[in-house]
């Protein structure tokens, strides 16, 4: 009786193991297929010329340069805005705000905001930044819109990071006579920094791949000059790629695939930096 039961459990374990393994394989297969398709289509078009050229009506001459610079500049704006507001909000919610219903309400809503479709943020950006603040269809408006989009994620991940700082460390700081502000700046923030930075970089990676909100706030499809200030016209990589895929000639699909490779490289680099930061500083406590 007992041995039969044991066999049953062993079998069950084996079945579940196979099931989970196949689930993993399915995900991996699609990832590999995606890589294969993008690489095989885009490789021929990916060269230095492609990276440093402006859009052109001919597939061989088209390049992603303004999109790449535009994306990076946009991320610069997003990083500055989202980091200052995001970390400040997280510090307030974690360290200062009283633990009452209102604070809970704010917390829940911030988490909900993280799930709002990006196009909604685009409409918000159009109403406020483009029209109300009178910025127009310019880089700054796009940057602020994207900052709003990733802000909830930055706040939530920064909160997690702040929360993971051990209470003993904080109490030790108070015990030494430090004020709350001193404790936050000299003890909590340095300890939470790797977690905060990782969260920021990962949310920036999300932002760099977004298209919909930027189309709404008026990122251009083709420009021939690089943005030279926050009030310049701009375009970003995903919009260039999207526009290429809509062209009738087959070669444009390859141009788009090359763009996807560039976007992927930048994403991988950003994620690599995030992991590097985490590994470098994580062992402190």
């Amino acid at each position: 009786m007992e041995s039969k039961n044991l066999n049953g459990r062993v079998l069950k374990n084996r079945v579940m193991k196979t099931l989970f393994f196949s689930a993993t394989v399915i995900a991996l297969v699609f990832l590999v297929l995606l890589f294969y398709r993008v690489l095989s289509q885009g490789w021929g078009y990916l060269n230095w010329n492609y990276i440093t050229s402006f859009p052109a009506p001919y597939p061989e001459e088209a390049g992603i340069w303004p999109g790449m610079i535009g994306s990076l500049m946009l991320m610069g704006v997003v990083a500055v805005v989202a980091v200052t507001i995001g970390i400040s909000t997280a510090i307030y919610l974690e360290e200062y705000s009283p633990k009452n219903k209102l604070a809970d309400f704010i917390r829940v809503n911030i988490q909900n905001l993280a799930g709002v479709p990006s196009i909604v943020f685009g409409l918000l950006g159009l109403t406020f930044f483009v029209y109300l603040f009178g910025i127009g269809y310019r880089l700054l408006a796009g940057g602020l819109t994207m900052a709003l989009l990733i802000l909830p994620v930055v706040v939530v991940s920064s909160q997690e990071a702040l929360r993971s700082v051990p209470t003993e460390v904080k109490e030790a700081s108070y015990g030494m006579g430090a004020s709350k502000w001193q404790t936050i700046v000299r003890v909590i923030l340095p300890a939470a920094l790797p977690g905060i930075l990782t969260g920021i970089i990962l949310s920036l990676s999300r932002g760099i791949g977004e298209t919909a909100p930027l189309i709404i706030v008026g990122a251009a499809t083709a420009i021939y000059t690089l943005p030279d200030s926050l009030l310049s016209k701009y375009t970003v990589m995903p919009i260039q790629i999207y526009k290429w895929t809509a062209r009738p000639q087959e070669e444009w699909q390859f141009v788009a695939a090359a763009g996807i490779i560039v976007l992927l490289i930048i994403l991988l680099l950003m994620n690599a930096i995030a992991v590097w930061i985490r590994n470098k500083y994580q062992t402190r406590y």
Binding site: L46, N47, W48, N49, I51, T52, S53, F54, P55, A56, P57, E61, W65, G136, Y137, I215, G218, A220, T221, A222, I223, Y224, T225, S232, K233, K243, T245, A246, R247, P248, Q249, E250, I261, V262, L264, I265, L268, L269, N271, A272, V275, W276, R278, N279
Partner: protein, 327 residues
């Protein structure tokens, strides 16, 4: 964790190096655009030109802006494509300089422009022949009358299967592929074929703003039918077949460069426009220069991307008109 980091870093490095490695010949091209051709002996043109509107007109405009940029690298050109309607939304309040459209401006858009003291001047850039297409796999239909098109596309008709139109045709559902309601192409179809009556909707109708989606959908289904700009048909002639459509003289005519230009492909040939904000054209030299440039180069730019050029005289007379306006 370390391994993951190492892996993604190495992958990124490999990709990046490979990308740089295959550069080969042309590092020179990045400077090409700046090669000054101060031929006119004037001060270099600067400022900005903003263009938005129809995605059908976009490929022509892209060719034009690209070449204009090579002559005047200092001008900040920004080109967008949010559809004919999307373009007029911006141009009628004076946000942009040029508004591309694959249909004439509507009455309500004109009113809106007037309310905002904006005057938009219509410029014809090229012709397009809206092509009614089926898959190459479709071996039964060659030509359709406008009445038959109505029966296929109108909600009020009870034609569901090909056999409802012609008993010799297969008893299969007609799959409709149409551009979305925001596109000027749909507007034109709506006016000329549907005559403003509602189009069929439901499981056998696919609407998309992305013309490639329509191309792909139609070419793989022998029972599909759809319509879009001539350029998209011309690029996919090996997988799609354009149907001959009855013109007002009762002849069956298929779209081609000739039949579109000489007007025999009717009623589905249409002019493609751009609307320029006249005040901006008078104030800003770069906008004026761009419009002149566009009229001088629209023909080749249109043909390059599969549209049909106007007659040379038509470009010239529009050019004279523009010049007259700024004096």
């Amino acid at each position: 964790m370390k391994k993951v980091f190492g892996f993604s870093l190495i992958l990124a490095m490999i990709l990046f190096l490979a990308a740089c490695g295959s550069s080969g010949e042309g590092d020179a091209s990045s400077d090409e655009g700046n090669g000054s051709d101060g031929s006119e002996g004037e001060e270099a043109l600067s400022g900005s030109v903003t263009i938005d509107g129809s995605s059908t007109v976009y490929p022509i405009m892209e060719g034009l802006t690209y070449r204009f940029n090579q002559e005047h690298p200092e001008v900040e050109l920004s080109l967008n494509s949010s559809g004919s309607g999307g373009g007029f939304k911006k141009s009628t309040v004076g946000e942009i300089d040029l508004s591309n459209a694959s249909r004439p401006i509507k009455e309500e858009e004109k009113q809106r422009a007037e309310e905002n003291d904006v005057n938009l001047h219509e410029i014809e850039l090229a012709y397009d022949g809206l092509s009614v297409v089926v898959s190459q796999q479709n071996d039964f239909v060659e030509e359709l009358t406008t009445d038959q098109l109505k029966q296929i596309f109108l909600e009020s008709s009870d034609v569901e299967k090909w056999s409802d139109l012609n008993e010799e045709w297969p008893e299969e559902d007609i799959k409709i592929f149409s551009p979305g309601h925001d596109s000027g192409t749909f507007d034109y179809w709506n006016e000329v074929i549907l005559e403003e009556e509602p189009m069929k909707e439901g499981e056998n109708t696919t609407l998309s703003e992305n013309d490639n989606t329509l191309v792909t959908g139609i070419k793989n289904d022998p029972y599909a039918i759809g319509y879009f700009g001539y350029a998209y048909y011309a690029e996919n002639e090996d997988s799609l077949r354009a149907l001959a459509v009855e013109n007002p003289d009762g002849e069956m005519v298929a779209p081609s460069g000739e039949t579109i230009q000489d007007g025999s492909y009717a009623p589905l040939s249409r002019p493609l426009f751009t609307y320029v904000n006249t005040a901006k054209m008078k104030e800003n030299e770069e906008v004026f220069e761009f419009v002149k440039f566009a009229l001088n180069n629209a023909g080749p730019a249109a043909e390059e991307v599969g549209y049909v050029a106007l007659n040379e005289e038509e470009y010239q007379s529009q050019l004279e008109e523009i010049k007259g306006m700024t004096e």
